[in-house]
Symmetry: C2
Subunit: 313 residues, 2 copies
């Protein structure tokens, strides 16, 4: 079997990991002059439009990250070829790290302490204790459920919202647009972990932000977006930060990436920016995941984590 | 029964909480002209030397914080009167918040990302995943054990060190000076939660820092001191940060507090400073704790969390 890697930059670490895990496997990296009909599997990360369709014998397309919006942008994607999302323990754990870190940062008012530190000022704020802080996770897929569970284990009061009803132990679960307002009305720190689909694009706008709750011991609501940049309306987020409708934000994803130099987000005193690395795909883990799924497929077993194109994730 | 509060500043919030919990109780705040022989219980926070000994009928002295070093400084403290440490669930949880927050901050290289953000630069570092990071907690009292447990639940590889042998589930426990080097040799992120005693003063010096381990995916070892400022030798910490023997530090406590304006720690790019508020005593919780212990004492039951003056905690 032959695997093709179609990445937006050379996947050196992943290629090395795949070759280490499966030394006998033929792995090609786009651009390549391999006979297109030899390729059975594609692993892709932000592929340029029109490449994947050249490989007409492809049986499975794997996304190198948790999201698949970067693949579904390609109108020529072959119909009927399954697309597999990445579900990998380290990827999940890294996202939980990001979520707990940034929740704690704003709950403990660290942007203010860091500013005081730069000014050489010794001054303390009163802060609520974990069990008095209400966190809400939008998106209860693998990453959202794991993050919600870690937050709850640590002591936060956690709710979740998703398109279709989900269950997670100890997490108050809301579903659908009918229950969104109730979810927001009890959420002081909002974590966005939704996929990027036509239904979620721009969902975090001024109206939604205006419905969030404020903890009595914090200056206002907090937004943490580690899902996709197109979930939020960036001008609305900036305006909410400036007006106080939002106290603070941690953003890992943006409408345009890298975040343009002119964006006022870079220098906003209550914003924490990371370069879309909340959860990096671990090369060895992805290699094992892809090879295991291929082995299952070749034994005639069903693939796991197949994308439903109708829903976009 | 009469309670006297001897604080280094007016304890308005605690006084209100005590009066709310026990409206019939006579509570006095130093300075006061109450008849000294009427006082049975003292709650103290950094009392000036020589005050407590004036109240000769005192039966129990309560510390308003987890540490009691601020009390034991007073050479006139009446012999034989029990001193009670504060053990309170919110106090314990706040310390776990601080420890997890600052461990995550340095593990995820946040001082570097915040610096990149100020420069408007989009650049990412590779970071290890939780289960590949080795954290060591020095001091396994109530606060240290709870923090170690939370770190372990979140997925870190956790060890603990204490003067006498302690056990904590899933935590590799080292004890005594004989095992300190072995503890340090496997510790990449060191959390100091020891009490301030003659045996612990200055224990975190250049020699100790030089024995810490470096995670292969981080630039060097990390120090997080949320115990007492006198545990570390500040000039050694600064030198280690400058030489790279330490990659980064979070410090909540200092040799002199407030941290003097001239300290180079304020502006060090890899140091995070908080104003000794890792874990603030919650007024209502302390009021309940003190009143419960008084009620037990008055029924002839033993007090909990009594300090052993020979060990200083």
């Amino acid at each position: 079997m032959s695997i093709l890697l179609v990445f937006n930059r050379h996947p050196a670490r992943f290629l090395a990991a795949l070759e280490a895990e499966a030394p006998k496997c033929a792995v090609h990296v786009w651009p390549t002059d391999v006979d297109p009909s030899a390729i059975r599997y594609i692993v892709a990360w932000k592929p340029a439009v029109g490449i994947i369709e050249r490989f007409t014998q492809t049986q499975v397309i794997f996304s190198y990250g948790a999201g698949v919006d970067h693949l579904l942008l390609d109108p020529g994607l072959p119909k009927g070829v399954p697309i597999v999302r990445l579900v990998e323990p380290d990827l999940t754990q890294r996202m939980s790290e990001y979520v707990l870190l940034h929740t704690l940062m704003h709950h403990r008012r660290m942007t203010e302490y860091l500013e005081l530190q730069r000014q050489g000022r010794w001054h303390e704020h009163w802060e609520p204790v974990t069990q008095d802080v209400r966190v809400g996770v939008m998106g209860l897929g693998v990453l959202g459920r794991a993050a919600a569970e870690k937050l709850r284990m640590f002591g936060y009061r956690v709710a979740g919202w998703s398109r279709t009803r989900r269950a997670a132990e100890g997490v108050e679960c809301y579903a659908g647009m009918d229950e969104l307002d109730a979810f927001l009305a009890r959420t002081e720190i909002l974590i966005a972990l939704l996929p990027d689909t036509p239904a979620t694009r721009g969902i975090i706008d001024a109206r939604l932000i205006g419905k969030l709750a404020t903890n009595p011991d914090l200056p206002g609501p907090v937004l943490i977006n580690a899902g996709r940049g197109r979930l939020h309306v960036e001008t609305d987020v900036i305006e909410a930060l400036n007006s106080g409708a939002l106290y603070a934000a941690s953003l890992d994803v943006f409408e345009a990436e890298p975040l343009p130099a002119a964006s006022p987000l870079w220098q906003h005193p209550r914003v924490v920016i990371t370069p879309h690395n909340a959860s990096n795909s671990p090369p060895a883990g992805v290699a094992r995941y892809v090879l295991e799924q291929i082995a299952r497929h070749e034994r005639g077993l069903p693939l796991a984590n197949v994308v439903d194109p109708a829903h976009g994730y």
